[in-house]
């Protein structure tokens, strides 16, 4: 019999009711991967796209050449920021369940990526976040009240009531506007980086997408442009194993890593333990240095796990084992940094519990303030007149006419 072609339908390693199975994940030991100089030619470091850069071992001890130069105070601050992100997420998740906001997306389990990268990049570097990078907004000092007011679409909403929850921006802090269309920010980051190079500035850009969105054309456009012009940009793929219900095999992750996507273009790829704050920090610093010294783009794949549902509209118990996160070999990023700090003697369970309480109170206070600016159901409302602003730099006559039509209707009905 001659073999026939077969349509391959990727299957995840476990479905609801099955025992979780992460044997498909290729892991390296902490400290096992050598750290090349940041100006090493891409062709000499292709191993970084399949190995896994890890610093913290299973006992929380930092190992190997990638151990970053971070003080204890910096690590404690990182822990605080990760916990703050987690408390913020928990509060907003609850707000959605209470009907106070329409929608929410947690970053549970992925906090180390945003916090470590936010620490490793310079304030002048431009960030093009995806929808699960709230940690970037937090580490760059956006007030929780502002983030909450965006989710509430209230009178203090930075987006003036025009966007679903979580589509934040912070121009002052160099954080681009989050888009609901996936991967569109990738070519923006490359263009921004090209402009930085054209102007002869040293600022770099950084963008984030999930494993699922690597299938979008924009991902490939961005890699091509970044490679062609050697743009000073860090392109991050947050591989949290799941794109709503499709596991990373449906984005083409079954045979090669996402980090390897750049190799064909000569872009170095680095696969990093995304739940290891020290490793993410070290790899980001390496890529940033490379970009700043004219070495062009780096593609970083962060191996992590989406601890929560895709969004408040999703129910992952229908497509993956409930206890899958518990079995994830790279653990929980908060617990791993905590363990490291406890090991070094600078932190304790008691201090950790106290910090959690402190942050919970802080978040609750912010929420109390945010709702004074209005919610979807009560309190002050945005003036509907702003609906017609900012479509263009100046309101053109046809939009002014439509605004007046609407206002006349509202006056009649009052």
């Amino acid at each position: 019999m001659t073999p026939k072609s077969r349509l391959h339908i990727p299957q995840p390693s476990a479905r609801p009711g099955d025992a979780p199975d992460f044997s498909y994940l290729s892991l390296s030991d902490a400290g096992a991967v050598a750290r090349p100089d940041s100006d090493t030619p891409a062709s000499q470091i292709e191993n970084l796209a399949s190995d896994l850069v890890r610093v913290l071992d299973d006992d929380g001890i930092a190992q190997g050449e990638w151990v970053p130069d971070l003080t204890t105070d910096q690590l404690l601050e990182a822990l605080r920021m990760m916990l703050l992100t987690r408390q913020f997420d928990a509060r907003m998740q609850r707000a959605q369940r209470q009907g106070k906001i329409s929608f929410y997306m947690q970053s549970l389990g992925e906090e180390a990526i945003s916090i470590a990268q936010g620490m490793a990049l310079e304030p002048g570097d431009m960030m093009f976040p995806s929808y699960r990078n709230q940690g970037l907004f937090i580490i760059r000092g956006t007030s929780l009240v502002d983030l909450m007011c965006q989710c509430l679409s209230n009178t203090r909403d930075m987006c003036k009531g025009r966007q679903m929850p979580i589509m934040y921006h912070n121009k002052q802090a160099n954080l681009f506007s989050v888009s609901g269309n996936l991967a569109t920010q990738y070519p923006h980051a490359v263009g921004w980086a090209m402009a930085s190079a054209i102007k002869g500035e040293e600022h770099i850009a950084s963008a984030w997408v999930g494993d699922g969105s690597t299938a979008e054309a924009d991902f490939h456009y961005a890699l091509t442009f970044a490679a062609v012009y050697q743009a000073p940009v860090i392109l991050n793929v947050v591989n949290n194993q799941w794109a709503i219900s499709t596991f990373q095999g449906f984005a083409g992750g079954e045979r090669r890593s996402f980090a390897a996507r750049g190799l064909g273009l000569g872009i170095p790829g680095v696969r990093v333990d995304g739940n290891d704050l020290l490793a993410v920090y070290a790899v980001t610093q390496w890529a940033a240095q490379r970009a700043r010294q004219g070495g062009g783009p780096t593609l970083i794949e962060h191996v992590t796990y989406r601890g929560g549902a895709h969004s408040t509209s999703d129910d992952p118990s229908r497509y993956r084992p409930k206890n899958e996160w518990d079995a994830f070999p790279l653990g929980d990023p908060v617990m791993r940094l905590k363990q490291h700090l406890v090991n070094t003697g600078y932190w304790s369970d008691e201090q950790h519990a106290a910090l959690e309480e402190e942050l919970k109170t802080f978040v609750n206070e912010a929420w109390k303030e945010a709702v004074t600016y209005g919610t979807m159901t009560e309190g002050p409302r945005l003036d509907v007149r702003v609906m017609f602003d900012d479509v263009y730099a100046e309101v053109p006559p046809h939009l002014e006419r439509q605004r007046q039509q609407l206002l006349a209707l509202r006056e009649q009905s009052e």
Binding site: M126, F128, D157, M158, C159, K160, R162, Q163, M167, H169, K171, F176, S177, S179, N181, T184, Y186, P187, H188, A189, V190, G191, W192, A193, M194, A195, S196, I198, K199, A205, A217, D218, Y221, A222, T224, F225, V228, Y229, D389, D390, V391, Y392, A393, P396, P397, H398
Partner: protein, 338 residues
């Protein structure tokens, strides 16, 4: 003043703006060393350098997407899409990102990208090099859409487009790059030097976006059109021997409603013509606008002459093209109505 064709006028606009504003850069396929397949950027890379006139990979979505990022970082990109027919891979970036960035970010971010694209038929381009997709863009909120019909307008409007902080889709009707065209392919080509629209100042000047132009004045009929069809409509009016206002809207969005209204209130009769196919075309919006604004002044139903609702066929180009005979037939219909 010098004599310029539309290619030279576009180039002159780019040159003037690159000289005046060091943040203006050009990005597109073949625009750099070679100077563009239509020569619109010829000599500009030599003059302004490889960092300001940049050859791009063949990826329209990447050209527009990266231009957005370039614009966010303080430069003023002019992206060339080699043919309007190739713009579709960039549609998501135009619709979801470029058009809405200012709005969605509460007015804080914007990207002043100008997208230039040669459009229209009459060059034996078949269905992949002849399209007029302007209606896809006029439907969007947040971009302006422009199409000039002469070298003079092309330069003045392109300068305004580049200076605008709003994104502008700038369509160049390529059939009239080298000379006005009255719709008859069998007549010898006429150069722009024989037309007043070919007189173009070498220095800076601008024509505001959102202003239509009455290119010919008359009493009995208003013809509203743009692009190549401005010249076809004028020729049809002369051949039909009637007295008509011919209005070139120039800026499709924002639309100069007042100029249309003033004319139709005067003439009481209106014909709308464009090269793009009819159903859901920009002409439908013009008909609706005239009907809303001028209904009680109309003495006859509004007529629409457009491309047939087929793809632009290679072998039947001149059967597809809405030429003088079709316009004259519609003029007669309008004028005969009581």
């Amino acid at each position: 003043m010098s004599q310029m064709n539309m290619i030279q006028a576009v180039r002159s606009a780019l040159d003037v703006m690159m000289h005046k504003d060091p943040t203006v850069i050009i990005l597109g396929q073949d625009v750099g060393y070679f100077g563009g397949v239509f020569r619109c950027t010829d000599g500009l890379q030599e003059k302004y350098g490889e960092h300001r006139v940049i050859d791009a990979p063949i990826a329209e979505g990447g050209i527009i997407g990266s231009a957005i990022g370039i614009g966010v970082n303080g430069l003023r990109p002019v992206a060339e899409i080699q043919f309007a027919d190739y713009i579709y891979p960039g549609l998501d970036q135009i619709i979801s990102e470029l058009a809405r960035l200012r709005y969605r970010s509460g007015g804080e971010f914007f990207s002043p990208v100008t997208v230039r694209a040669p459009c229209g038929g009459g060059i034996r381009g078949g269905q992949t090099h002849s399209q007029s997709p302007e209606a896809l863009f006029t439907h969007l909120s947040g971009v302006k859409t422009v199409m000039p019909s002469s070298p003079y307008d092309a330069k003045g409007l392109l300068i305004s487009a580049i200076e605008s902080d709003d994104p502008v889709i700038f369509f160049e009707p390529k059939r009239i790059y080298n000379g006005p065209f009255d719709g008859d392919p069998n007549k010898p080509a006429v150069p722009w030097s024989k037309h007043p629209g070919g007189e173009v100042p070498e220095d800076y000047y601008s024509i505001p976006l959102g202003k239509a132009e009455v290119v010919e004045e008359g009493d009995d009929l208003t013809i509203i059109t743009y692009g190549t069809m401005v010249h076809v409509a004028q020729a049809a009016v002369h051949k039909a021997g009637i007295s008509a206002d011919v209005i070139d809207v120039r800026s499709l969005v924002p639309l100069d409603v007042e100029t249309l209204k003033t004319s139709v209130e005067k003439t009481g009769r209106c014909l709308i013509t464009h090269e793009a196919s009819r159903f859901g075309g920009y002409g439908a919006e013009l008909v609706a606008t005239v009907q809303e604004e001028c209904f009680w002044h109309l003495q006859a139903p509004i007529e629409r002459v457009a491309g047939w609702e087929t793809p632009y066929p290679h072998a039947f180009e001149w059967d597809y093209f809405p030429a003088q005979d079709r316009i004259i037939a519609s003029i007669q219909k309008i004028m005969e109505a009581v």
